[in-house]
Amino acid sequence: MILIVLAYLALVTFAVAVALRTLRIARMPVHLRWELYPVPHEPHAAHGGSVFEELNWWQVRPKPNRLGGLKVMAREVLLLQGVREHNRQLWLRSYPFHGGLYLLGALILLLGLDAVAAGIKWNLGTAVAAITTVVGVAGFALLGIGALGLLTRRLADSALRAHSAPADLFNLVCFLVVATLGLVSFTVVDHDFSHLRAFARALLHLNPVVLPTLVVAQIVTGLALLVYLPFSHMSHFFTKWFMYHSVRWDDQANRVGSRLEATIQRQLGERVTWAATHVGGGAGRNWVDVATAQVKK
């Protein structure tokens, strides 16, 4: 029962941490435009162009090419296109690492499906169990290979080593431990993931189950990593959305009378406390005061 409670606590902590961090970013003030081309939803994205290429562009309201943005994101998520293009050596290690994580995500879904099916007495047959095993083993193996590759590279390359904080190495070791425990558990006690399936069923139906120590260790380390993720820079699995959509591709023009304009006007009323003499901040002055102050001749 303790393991079930721990699992729910971990899941809730993960969800709350992700939600809070997402909210924190989403609630940040609108920033000045800082896009970087190509912006894939621009109609001229094929050559990296923008609406500024149009004469009297403010009279043009181009329909954003949502599909273009989705395609780039899909390539980025599924192929790690950016790393592949700019750092092939890293990609050779990072791709198995992320591929392993995706497969482990699929493993969790399959375990969930099995638990639901067991609850409604739906016989999934042997195929799903076989797929679960293949997906799980491949996931742990790829994650382990990738984590080991990334870790050795980080240790072997002097620049990467110099720039790494202890946590950067710790993070990779964590993944390596999770992957190793998964593979050892599979090899020694859980050849067909029946114990993991049993745990998933127990979790869904709140029905405690006795598991081998190795499987318990595997689950506990996996849960600990899950809790840790949103507090580390590995939170990029959800914050990357903001880095692309809210900065790199944010080319929303400020139109007169728009909501964006109202937001900007409100933010221009924020107090300025920068201390350099030429800024003239402090004494309750806001951005409008500072920006319209006359410079002494």
């Binding site: 162009g49 890293l90 950067d168």
Partner: protein
Amino acid sequence: MTLAIPFAQVGKPSERLGRLEDRARIPLPPPYHDFEEPPLPALSPDIRARCECSLDDTVAVSTPRPATPDAEDAMVKGFLAGLDKLFSREDNWTFLEPLVLSMEHCTKCQTCATSCHIFEESGKNELYRPTFRSEILRRLYFKHRSGGSLLSRFQHGDIDINWTTIARLLELSYRCNLCRRCAQACPMGVDNGLVAREIRKLFSMELGIAPKEIHEKGSMLQLRAGSSTGMNPEAAHDNVAFIDEEMTEKTGIKVETKWDVAGADVLLMHNAGEMLSWPENPGAFALILEAAGISWTLSSELCGYDAVNYGLWYDDAQFARVVIKHAQIAKKLGVKKIVIGECGHAHKSMMVIADRILTGELNIPRESSLTLLAQIVDSGKLKLDPSRNDFPVTLHDPCNIVRLMGVVEPQRRVLRKIAPRFREMTPHGVHNYCCGGGSGFAIMSSHNFADWRMRVATRRKFRQILEAFQDDLDPARPKYVCAPCSNCKGAIRDILARYKAKEKVGIRYGGLVELIVNAMTDARPGFLSSDE
């Protein structure tokens, strides 16, 4: 390649944290493949004694050394106060979100490094690795925020918070052109260019420290005298009158620039540096707009005849002041739109960054001259003979106009029509390399900084230019680098002069409008004469 620099070294006082090593660098293409680079002139002992220059072999900011330990402490305290403001909603709503995202999500994978022309052309000098300065700021920020807790040091690494670290960080923020090519390569979207800019901002807006060329003699001078060149409205009038005369004489077409025409369709704003350094550029603009029948004007209001906005590179308050002046002038004149001449940072300032500062009546439409020129050429209003430009032409893409605002095709559309031997650089478009003059480097020349710029920052552009003309290196046959940006032209001018590229390879440079005028059949042939 130099050895990685441990972050523990950054705060340890020493004469220099690193050196520029010429032997590690990639040779240039022919005819400069065996060119013997003279050593970088050393900073004088006097400068070394007076200024903070413990980063490398040059100095950009010339910050005086604090005289006493107490003065050092005061500077550190000021920096930390500025650091708090940099991460506050009130003082930095302008860039808070992109900065926080970049601070919190770098995986330190170094994918960005090879995309940086400064890092590459310095022989992969660790000082100039794009993540180096960001990592210093990151460590300072997290350590300061957490009070130096063990958890923070574990998570983000450690660094000494002292004047040595801070003084080196200041100089480091001026070893980046802010071209953001590294951000384009980052799979996470981390923007080391933005981080460099925000470091500059902290120093300027909190401590009042910035290179004099971009602050005192730059944005302050512009706000006081009307132009960062120091040119007042009367001088601008005189210069333009002289340019009109020259253009008329040279082309045989009467050119008469109009000033302060209320209700004109177009308020044209040049980088005023053009009037002094490349007068044929504003002259060519005047001739083209007249020939195309455009209703246009220049403004003689203070700041109205100078589109530059150096605040873009280092200071939000200075940026906003200049851009508001520009918008107020356009509003007062009642023009339909502002068209920005061939100046990259003025493009980005007015069209992109100012977009979320100018509201209501000040939100005057702003357009790139490249777009307007493409439309004029497409319209057939000018009679053009491309055979007049029958020499190799290559195009430099100013980062601010291309990668940072997506104006890629209009200038190419024009060149395809008027320059039969146009060839691209590699890479080009949004993947271009900076000219090395970006973010103020082109105008910063204190001590040996201009020399450093040419041997490191501009070297990649020179390499690209040479590669574009490798099919014909004969100096007797002229070649033309079209660089539609004043700062880029300044950097290219300097590098071509340094290597005597005109004499050795026949390489000239200039803007886009000069090429258009050179192709105009109504104008006398030879506008771009070979001796220019």
